[in-house]
Amino acid sequence: MNSMEKDTRLIGREALAKLFAQWLGEGRRILAPKQSNDKVDFAEVETPGEVSLDPVQTGQSPKGALFPRVEELFSFPSRDGRVELRERDLAALKPTVVFGLRPCDAAALAALAAIFNWDSADALFSARLAALTTVGVACNRCDEYCFCTSLGGGPGATTGSDILLTDMGGGEYLAEVISEKGRQAIQGAGTLFQPALGKDKESRLARVEKAFDLDKVKPALEALFDDEAFWVEQSLRCLGCGACAYVCPTCACFDIQDENGRRLRCWDSCGFGLFTLHTSGHNPRPLQSQRWRQRLMHKFSYMPERQSVLGCVGCGRCSRACPVDMNILEHLRAVAEAKP
């Protein structure tokens, strides 16, 4: 088959269960949205029955599959005064299928990769990414926090998914096989699929209205940079916690900690005052308003400039998780419409 030709098929729920079994048999682990207590988040599953695709979005993003909240980069145990350097065994990382991520989360992988492989390739991140297969599920519902279409994405967008499923109703999914990894994930499973016979996913997709003009955001941000009053006003109720950064599928800031002979990479957030505190005691961003500005600048100005990719995919998680109802969509609209 020509790689440019669209490979679209149908798969039923029972066949999907067999596909899950095949993946497990191949030694892959499957991460998918799973209900636990009162939250649905990515966790290991073995059958499609454990997967919960009911919520518009999971509470946390799937970025932990590539960038865990704590991970050992290498270790340096010492014995009798001698220090040994132990690299991570990258071959031991388990091949992983992330199932049920939304198109926005799939798009976020490019932003993460752009950061981790910016000036030099991050070996651990790249090894995890190479071992990762993404089986997205298109959105047939959205909520007031979603704004993927304002950023070039969409509820049925295929970017970043190796396979994209769309729930066609009646226990049937339309499966678009997007990449070579996607083809490999269904190798030998051809009988589980039926021909799609002209089925079209469009009518099944959520309608996410465009909320602002993205072209205006970057120049507006740059013009507003020194407008202290604007940023103070925008962020008055922000309390400076890291909830937004930690649920974000693209936020990639980290802290390095040495602990018992292990070097650890831990999530960090530019929203924390400590993030930029210098040893001298000087802090170039002493106020929350400056840190909130940094959050928007990094995602919508610095990343497009340096990495040619947006640092936001419009998933709306930060707005849903914010304890004080900071809503990034409202703030972007305010930026796009500001008259500096």
Partner: protein, 266 residues
Amino acid sequence: MQALRSKARELLATKTVQVIIGYASGGGGRARAVFVREAAKADALVFDDSCQQNLAVYFSKPEVRKLGKAALVATPAALRAILQLAAENQIAEGELLALAVGGDDVVPLATFAAIEAHVAARDGDWSAAEKEELQKYEAMGLEERRRFWEEQFSRCLKCYACRAACPLCYCTRCTVECNQPQWIPVPAHDLGNLEWNVMRAMHLAGRCVDCGDCGRACPVNIPLHLLNRRLIREVFTVFGSRSGRSAKGDNALSTFKPNDPEDFIQ
């Protein structure tokens, strides 16, 4: 709501205060904090059951302090927070006007004595649902309780939303931010999460005003307020005191008295 709005308009028009820290309608049926500085914008203020955030938390935010003298739309928990902040020398008499809300009424409370009297007159026990929640938790055996918290803390992201949302967590530099020495492990692994969450709860023992904002703020829904409630009960049982009732209160766990009956401390 009308009483609140007209009071706000009056306070701003007469320049009694420069800002009203209150609630406005937010997204998804939630309320959010609003900082009203013009009488003409007082109609943004709302007060209903969705208004749960303890707005006293904003008193320690530099950008909010810069707005000038504030009137704070205060739930009972916010009034207790103001008294506790006063007891800890974080708010001086006359620095803040409390607008006590509840029902359709709004009661301006200008002095700590007035807030103390207002709180005392309406002080009650936990609701039946709150008691039941705590009883269910206390009924667990020691081992079961340990497993309960292990599971809860395993989800902790160390985003510190609990700290940020707490009006009594006003330290400009938290213990977790001190790294010479590093008292609390930074990574959000089991030990780091246990130490952080236990330290947070213990630092608030005898100081927590029981607003529940720590648990409400948590993006992974850890019922952090249960730890605080348990400690509130403990402190009350041992010391007979409840925080947030007096502007001059001693803090049970950070007050030294020369005539302390315990030998070990002398």
